[in-house]
């Protein structure tokens, strides 16, 4: 180890290790590389002290700089909320029907309502608010409980036939298979179809009109146009909630289905409900 041996051919120092006359040249890593390597080690130690690094069972070291990615997210969220507050605060104090007269608030409410809709409403009403049998289409101009912005707001806030809310929308149509004979139900169904201008059997329609006047007109009206106050659907329009086929209508008369919509006031808060109401109203059918 004392004196260095120099390889004759390459002029490079050897390590002194020899196998069958073959000697290993001593060609260490370049100095700059080694120094950089040591610096990264020192840096890593400093990094572990300064930042969260070593995991314990239930937590981890905090680091002297007190950095936390969760805190970063919280800061960014707070910043975003601060930016939104200029709109949110005004919406909170404003009656819902006034929002649309402020273009900036209208834009914000439609965007915010659209986001809330995608999270909470699409499951039943569909991603395009197009509805499904038993779930109303929110794009059209037919409203069970009223299509002006206040009525929409009220429906979203308190729901329909929702047990947990005293102000919920409530209506119940009796099951007419206990009251009418099957033949009579078919006659009423034929009469109801005729209200929309669709063809149906005149021999059924005539007796049907009499039965309708006795049993149905109280809620659905003499002309079949329904009553929003009672939640009685309009039977004379082109939109059918549970299907427009005469048999489907007969089934609904005999043993009506009643959908339930939860009240959202408690879960979403007043400002989000307002935004949702503005959004639904903006879909094209708002009155």
């Amino acid at each position: 180890m004392s004196d260095k041996e120099i390889d004759e051919i390459s002029g490079t120092e050897t390590t002194g290790h020899e196998w069958d006359g073959i000697k290993e040249l001593n060609t260490p890593m370049p100095r700059w590389w080694v120094i950089t390597f040591y610096i990264t080690i020192i840096w890593a130690v400093g990094y572990m002290i300064a930042y969260p690094a070593i995991p314990w069972v239930n937590s981890a070291t905090k680091g002297f700089l007190g950095y936390s990615s969760r805190a970063d997210v919280a800061t960014e969220m707070a910043a975003a909320e601060a930016v939104q507050s200029q709109y949110v605060d005004r919406i909170a104090t404003m009656p819902v029907e006034e929002i649309s007269s402020h273009p900036d608030l209208l834009q914000f409410a439609v965007a915010g309502g659209s986001a809330a809709y995608k999270v909470n409403c699409v499951q039943c009403h569909g991603s395009g608010a197009q509805g499904a049998p038993g779930y109303p289409n929110l794009n059209d101009d037919s409203w069970l409980w009223g299509g002006d912005i206040n009525a929409i707001y009220q429906t979203i806030a308190h729901g329909v036939r929702f047990d947990g809310d005293d102000d919920t929308r409530y209506s119940e149509m009796p099951a007419f298979n206990d009251i009418l004979e099957p033949e009579e139900i078919r006659q009423v169904a034929a009469y109801v179809v005729s209200l929309t201008g669709e063809p149906s059997d005149p021999s059924l329609v005539e007796p049907g009109s009499v039965i309708y006047a006795e049993n149905c007109a109280d809620c659905h009206g003499d002309d079949g146009k329904g009553d929003i106050e009672l939640g009685a659907p309009n039977l004379a329009d082109a939109i059918w909630f549970y299907g427009d086929d005469e048999n489907q209508i007969a089934t609904q008369i005999a043993n009506p289905q009643h959908g339930v919509m939860p009240a959202w006031a408690e879960r979403l808060g007043d400002t989000v409900i307002k935004q949702l109401a503005v959004f639904v109203h903006s879909l094209g059918g708002g009155q």
Partner: protein
Amino acid sequence: MTDTISQKPDVEQFDAQAVNAAWARKPLYEASRKIFPKRASGQFRRFKWIIMLVTLGIYYLTPWLRWDRGAYAPDQAVLVDIANRRFYFFWIEIWPQEFFYVAGLLVMAGFGLFLVTSAVGRAWCGYTCPQTVWVDLFLVVERAIEGERHQRMKLDAAPWTLNKIAKRVSKHVSWLLIAVATGGAWIFYFADAPTLLVDAITGNAAMVAYGTVAVLAATTYVFGGLMREQVCTYMCPWPRIQAAMLDEQSLVVTYNDWRGEPRSRHVKKAKAEGKVVGDCVDCNACVVVCPMGIDIRDGQQLECITCALCIDACDGVMEKLNRPRGLIAYATLDEYSDNMATATAGGTSTINPDLVRDADGSFKNGVRHFNWRIIFRFRTMFYFGVWALVGIGLLVALGARNRLELNVLHDRNPLYVTLSDGSIRNGYTVKLLNMIPEPRTIFLSLEGLPGATMSITGIDQPEGRSFAVPVDPDKLRTIKVYIRQPLGNVEAGKTQFRLKAEDKGSNESDVYNAAFDAPEKK
């Protein structure tokens, strides 16, 4: 030299050497040798001064030109407004979707470069390339501070005295100032120049502005001051590409060895000895002025940027010696080869300049000289044709382009909505582009789709077939349009119709073919 005489006559010996023979091997990375170009004077140097003034003037002054576009657009003649995504060039305003005009300009620049190179060689490199122009500018500064070539060489070799330090510091500080001014001018193309200047000086400009200035100042200083010819030789791809652009008819800076060789420093003595003597007196004037540090007498080479300063230097010497100018000159390979054939008697002898001269010393009639007509040949005309076609195409497209555009996006979810009276409603997102810097009222009307009416969210007007929509100057307005067709008119499936946007003032209009969806069967 090695002894090539064979010991055994039956074995052939070769006078050859491996390209990487160990005894001749040089280090891969040789330190670059400094170049101290001498100042040249003459017609090409004058021409280069003018070009330098013009190009630098264009670069530094353009952002300060004003152009009145009215109240709703900036008044800077050339402005790349990245924040608002608009590009202004005098009377032309370009929106992002019209960026193909810039692509067209790049195509023109490409063919322009081909055209210039095939006609007059690397004129771009020698005269107008920013690298060349800024190196020239930096050399002016260097000469003013450190003196002419021999003084600079002496200073470079001298030990570090106070004088040398002072000169070097002032040179580099001057270079850095030019570099900062160069980077500084660049940012003015991207914002209102007077405002930005004040902001930049008072420290109120955006960080990206300072960053851009810093990066461009650094590259200007390093490329123009420190690296100079190395940029052209090692970094730039153009010297490689130019080989494909040049042909036998291209003008390149040429040393006419058919009249210059054999060169001699002692002409009288050589003539007295009865030797053949060429025009070159081997004074090396062409070498000392070369900013690339090459010897043009070695022939065409990659490093040569054809700045023609060696022509100026040589012409000066030839005039002093009362010999015709043009020993180094712009010449084509064709001319050169013909003259070379004359001087070597068709390649049968070494160069003999007497073969190209008459007894009185003037050139013989057969000697070819530069002829302007050589520029008008198929290749250059082809490049010019393509260049001009692209240019005309761009101008026509620019003249005919529409400053009012209409885009219609049909709602897909839901495709259609059945209303209580049985009519069908479709929703559309309509984008109206008012591409002039003036407010306009655009009339949106329905064509086709019998009985249908539309309503627009945010515009308080009863349902109808035509709406007046105000659009802000130089802005896009997005509106939500609902179109409703009564039950009696609805056709099953998809129906084509047209939406038309019209500016009644300028009679500009745009039409969009849209589709109206209804249930497949009623």
